[in-house]
């Protein structure tokens, strides 16, 4: 065997680093093109290079979209208006750590009641104006106050005062919160230029991000151009985002080469798509989960035995396999994703157990139980199938479930939080506190299970300002166990973000906090 063949073998078995391989190949007189070809076949991540136009096809997007970050409804506006063109104070890295973005650093006071963010030096907006602390203050105020209609309003409720102090921005909180920098990474909290006389200018779409908006056509798409003054990385010359709502059309556009990347693959056919040699299918496990929620204040769900019976009457493995075709992990009635710090997997693991269901129903005196389950594609795609499978498995355990498909465009308004047993989803949150505060705190406006547990509430406040990590972990473990045993949620699965891209583009590690590579795909990918 000659040295070149040996080297190739080393590459295919990953015994050699990318850099070493290239160095040794050059020494052997192998052309760069040939060597990189071997590397890409061996599955090495490529060195990013500049240039090209990246075409993205996304499933979300409507003619009513606007660039107002307060009302970004989904990943289309998130990707265009935030990920590609704007920045928050902090961001999450691929390992799930919170790191500075527009903020160079951030420090809490001892009780975590005050946070000071120091701004990165010399950053300018797309229009050339320098970023100041006042821009940050105005961008945050955009989401606060009585008349705010922002989706980020609730996470900023704990902010008592926010003020500019030279290059620093100081947040005074109503109570200690060790997780505040996580909030600051939210995609609604994009930093915009302040207007003269107060307010933030979102209308122009001007941000600090790697790309600047050339054209934004709501419900159709957007054209973006690289911002050469950006402080971070950005490889493509141009990025085009197209709204392609129909999944079959999106897939066809990818296979025929009209787009490079599509989100939200059709899980029914994704295994067939995988066979296409020019296409890679990727899955990312995020924090998102699909759930059925029971209103614990309404009969029969006010009976914990009934809740537990239903939790044991659903065959999550079957749903994960048939509805999500393996692109999901069975849930265990804990909303905290396994990758989140302090996550536990509470015992006993809830699995399909008809005998236990019958036993629990007997205890509750509810044999022959019949319940209505409201579902809609608005909750998640595949919900009708998931409901149907739930119905079938529960029937074998003696529970009759009527699956009712509700209209999707009024689902959140007329069904969710209104009917006692409904399908829903959460994109999940990167911390226990954030998730609990959003959906399980007794007084949370999105407490969709209406579950109010005094011990849980007590722990929530205590854990928030607890700076001792071990103590915090114990508290969060107890809270997760409480939810698991007594709460009103049936966590069906943690869903994976499944997307596909042509081999003409390449990427590094995925961000897992949001879909579309954390919505930052435009700056994190490059032409292969």
């Amino acid at each position: 065997m000659n040295q070149w063949e040996e080297l190739q073998q080393a590459a295919f078995t990953k015994r050699v680093s990318r850099r070493d391989f290239m160095r040794r190949a050059t020494a052997l007189g192998i052309s760069t093109a040939l060597a990189t070809g071997v590397l890409s076949r061996a599955g090495y991540a490529q060195e990013p290079k500049k240039g090209g136009t990246f075409k993205i096809g996304l499933g979300h997007g409507a003619t009513t979209d606007s660039l107002d970050p307060a009302t970004y409804p989904d990943q289309m506006t998130g990707t265009v208006g935030w990920g590609a063109t704007g920045n928050s104070l902090t961001e999450m890295d691929a390992a799930g750590n919170i790191v500075g973005d527009l903020a160079e650093s951030f420090e809490p006071s001892d009780d975590a009641k005050q946070w000071v963010f120091k701004l990165r030096n010399g950053v300018t907006f797309h229009n050339g104006k320098a970023v100041t602390a006042n821009d940050v203050v105005q961008s945050y105020l955009h989401h606060m106050g009585k008349d705010s209609k922002s989706a980020a309003k609730s996470i900023l409720e704990s902010v008592e005062e926010i003020k500019a102090d030279g290059d620093n921005v100081v947040f005074k909180l109503k109570g200690g919160n060790a997780d505040f920098p996580f909030y600051a990474s939210d995609y609604h909290l994009k930093i915009m230029p302040a207007k003269d006389g107060g307010g933030a200018d979102w209308e122009s779409g001007i941000g600090t991000g790697p790309y600047a908006i050339e054209k934004f056509d709501p419900g159709v798409g957007a054209k973006l151009k690289r911002n050469d003054n950006f402080y971070g990385k950005a490889y493509f010359d141009e990025v085009e985002v197209k709204v392609i709502a129909d999944v079959a059309a999106r897939t066809n556009a990818l296979t025929s080469g009209e787009i490079h990347f599509m989100d939200r693959c059709d899980l029914k056919t994704v295994n067939l798509l995988k066979k296409n040699p020019d296409i890679n299918v990727t899955e990312v496990t995020g924090y998102g989960h699909y759930i059925f929620v029971m209103n614990v204040t309404q009969a029969p769900f006010d009976n914990p035995h009934v809740r537990n019976a239903l939790k044991n009457a659903i065959d999550r493995e079957e749903i994960a396999k048939k509805v999500f075709h393996g692109y999901a992990t069975a849930g265990n009635d804990n909303p905290i994703a396994p990758s989140v710090q302090y996550a536990i997997n509470p015992e006993p693991i809830h699995t399909y157990n008809p005998d236990k269901v019958k036993e629990l129903l007997k205890k509750a005196g509810m044999e022959g139980l019949t319940v209505d389950l409201s579902v809609s594609d608005a909750a998640f795609s595949g919900v009708v199938d998931a409901g149907t499978l739930f119905k079938e498995s529960a029937a074998k355990a003696g529970i009759n479930i009527n699956v009712i498909r509700e209209a999707s465009d009024s689902y959140w308004d007329a069904v969710w939080l209104k009917k006692p047993f409904v399908a829903s989803y959460w994109n999940g949150r990167p911390t226990c506190d954030w998730m609990f505060t959003t959906a399980y705190a007794a007084d949370a406006s999105w407490n969709d299970t209406f579950w109010k547990n005094p011990r849980f509430s007590e722990l929530l406040v205590a854990a928030r300002s607890e700076t001792d990590s071990a103590k915090r972990g114990t508290m969060y473990a107890e809270m997760q166990q409480l939810l698991h045993d007594d709460g009103g949620l049936i966590n069906i699965v943690f869903n994976n973000y499944v997307s596909a891209h042509s081999k003409a583009v390449a990427h590094g590690d995925f961000l897992s906090n949001w879909d579309v590579d954390g919505m930052k795909i435009a700056s994190r990918w490059w032409m292969a």
Binding site: A62, T63, T64, D65, S66, D68, T71, P73, K146, D147, S148, K149, S150, A151, K153, S154, E203, D217, P218, G219, V220, G221, K242, V243, I244, A245, D246, A248, A249, N252, A253, T255, S256, E258, I259, A407, D409, S410, W412, D413, A414, W416, S424, S445, W446
Partner: protein, 322 residues
């Protein structure tokens, strides 16, 4: 007054009334729909406070009757208002939202009509000429099969073969104002083809039936007895008298091309007005829904009126009623 002119005036009057009724019906329906713009946009993120703030900003806190009266008042002055998606300092008028999409829709409709109408007439005439022949039956069965496929499925099939497998035509019909004419036509090729397959059957069958219907008439019989060739009889004698029903069905299908292509627009992601209206309905964006509905209704009324005028103009008996 000339009877034709009187008919036109009368029909235009009735058309205006229809438009008025349409606006009331649509407005009531959108008001009855559960939820409103604020809740629809905020979705799962809606809280009582954010919804209330939003409603106030776009005027949804006023009672529906007052909103409707204000809307009518503005429309009479030619002012269609702004989309609810507008914000302070970021106005999106209904006109600027609709104009480019209406242009796209009309372009696609014209392109399809330019192909489908002559094709349907030719096939219909040929089928009538060779009726009950193998040709007639094949054309009949094929066109029937094409209309009995759901549009989106037909679109998927065409996309699969012509775009994905053969790479002859682009599968995405994404165009914008800057797209050049030739490029625009190529991009619209697949939607055009889909729509053509959907509407040709209907028009072709009507043409065939209308001509066959006349073949039993004494004057056709007469012409044939004189020894005229079959094709001459049909083209010279039958066709001119068959215009009325044919024009009617053509008008019906042209109206469909403007108002009924939501599904095809969705599949090919063509930025037309149908998709805009569905989006607007989903978001409860009443000003946009209303404007779209009026445009659709006006199109429908105008096309029907045109068809009737042609029917009357080509039929002496209708032109000079007893």
């Amino acid at each position: 007054m000339h009877p034709l002119a009187r008919t036109i005036l009368q029909r235009l009057g009735l058309g205006l009334m229809t438009l008025f009724i349409v606006s009331i019906v649509i407005f009531s329906m959108v008001s009855w729909l559960p939820g409103d713009f604020a809740k629809a946009i905020l979705g799962q993120a809606a809280t009582e406070e954010t919804v209330a703030a939003f409603q106030k900003e776009i005027g949804l806190d006023k009672p529906p009757v007052q909103r409707y009266v204000e809307w009518v008042g503005n429309v009479v002055q030619g002012e269609f208002g702004s989309s609810f998606a507008s914000r302070v300092g970021y106005k999106r008028t209904v006109a600027e939202l609709i104009a480019p999409r209406l242009a796209n829709t009309l372009f696609l409709a014209s392109l399809t009509a330019a192909i489908a109408v002559p094709l349907a007439l030719a096939l219909g005439i040929l089928a009538a000429l060779y009726r009950n022949s193998l040709f007639d039956r094949i054309v009949n069965s094929v066109t029937l099969t094409t209309i009995s496929m759901p549009e989106f499925f037909m679109a998927y099939l065409l996309m699969l073969f012509l775009s994905v497998k053969l790479s002859w035509l682009p599968g995405l019909a994404s165009v914008d104002a800057e797209t050049e004419l030739l490029e625009r036509i190529t991009r619209c090729a697949l939607p055009t083809l889909t729509l053509t397959l959907v509407i040709v059957a209907h028009m072709m069958r009507m043409t065939r039936a209308a001509i066959i219907n006349l073949l039993a008439c004494p004057y056709i019989e007469m012409a044939r007895l004189k020894g005229m060739s079959k094709s001459r009889v049909i083209l010279r004698h039958a066709l001119p008298n068959a215009w009325a029903p044919i024009v009617n069905v053509v008008a019906f299908n042209l109206a469909y091309l403007v108002v009924g292509v939501v599904v095809v627009e969705a599949v090919f992601t063509y930025p037309g007005i149908g998709q805009l209206m569905v989006d607007a309905v989903t978001a409860r964006d009443i000003p946009v829904v209303q404007a779209c509905a009026l445009i659709f209704a006006a199109t429908y009324i105008m096309l029907n009126l045109t068809a009737d005028i042609i029917s009357i103009a080509t039929n002496p008996r209708l032109l000079h009623p007893r």
